[in-house]
Symmetry: C2
Subunit: 160 residues, 2 copies
Amino acid sequence: MNKVFHAITEKQQDADATTMAADITSDYQLEDQVGFILRCVNQRHLSIFSRLIPDLTPTQFSALTKLCENGQASQNELGRMIAIDAATIKGVVDRLKLRGLISSESQPSDLRRLILKPTAKGRQLFDQIRVAALAVSEETLKPLSDKERHLFFRLLMKLR
Amino acid sequence: MNKVFHAITEKQQDADATTMAADITSDYQLEDQVGFILRCVNQRHLSIFSRLIPDLTPTQFSALTKLCENGQASQNELGRMIAIDAATIKGVVDRLKLRGLISSESQPSDLRRLILKPTAKGRQLFDQIRVAALAVSEETLKPLSDKERHLFFRLLMKLR
DNA sequence: GCAAATTAGTTTGTATGCTAACAGTTTATG
DNA sequence: CATAAACTGTTAGCATACAAACTAATTTGC
């Protein structure tokens, strides 16, 4: 799982969020920087994801999901849809292909393009996992009330 | 810089955050999952960081900052302070050492430990960069009002 | 006091994620 | 129509990031 995450949360559980947020502009404190906490929250999410969905990485799941949602896409197109650059998406696609979850064929009308589609096995895995994916979101947001979740979501969207 | 981030934001600028957040539990949509958006927000932050602070990666900056704040730390200790596992912190420390920003010596009372300290050059760089680091946070949070920033910070802290 | 458990650091392997440079293909432009 | 510009996928290189397995040193438990 994720040893670092647990070590950290145990240590800093009692921190006073309101106070720390107050002096952002005064003295420099690493823990007050958005980027640092963002990284920790992301870390916690990844830890939850890999525990509930050990079969795929979040990135692989995103790619498979988008292909199942759209039916097909070219490689770079897929990357743009889930915010992954061309160099990275290649590796992701290669690994999904290696596991028989997606297939690729070149598009006759544009020989540069590789058309990717989910295989039957890929669609089956996606259907199995999508429920767990909702549980991942649920557990990630567990520390927040329903009202706080919607608020957090709205603010997070603005920072995309 | 970060080509993916720009391509994505241009496309999805007009998305309605409130509506999308509303149906989290109904039909599965990748864009509604916290983890996905969290990753995008993190991506945007990294892009801002590398533009304003090209000299160091966020992780390297975190490590250097903690050493400057604390004076010294052992390698694993440093990793725990900034939520980085032992395998990763080794590479980070090696690269900072290679650039002469930190020094290491083994601790006589415990021969397993490597005591890390920032060098004069390291402290100097940190002092130069800390202002830019505040600017990174500022620009990352730019889409939010002051009230929203404090709110976001409070909620983010809860999800650590 | 000594074996067992723990801790610190290292190494290997896998997966993201980015930049930069490249070749082949297609589109736009003069 | 010819050439420049843009796009698609690929490769290499670097930097996180984590799991697992390992060595060496220290601490615990009996």
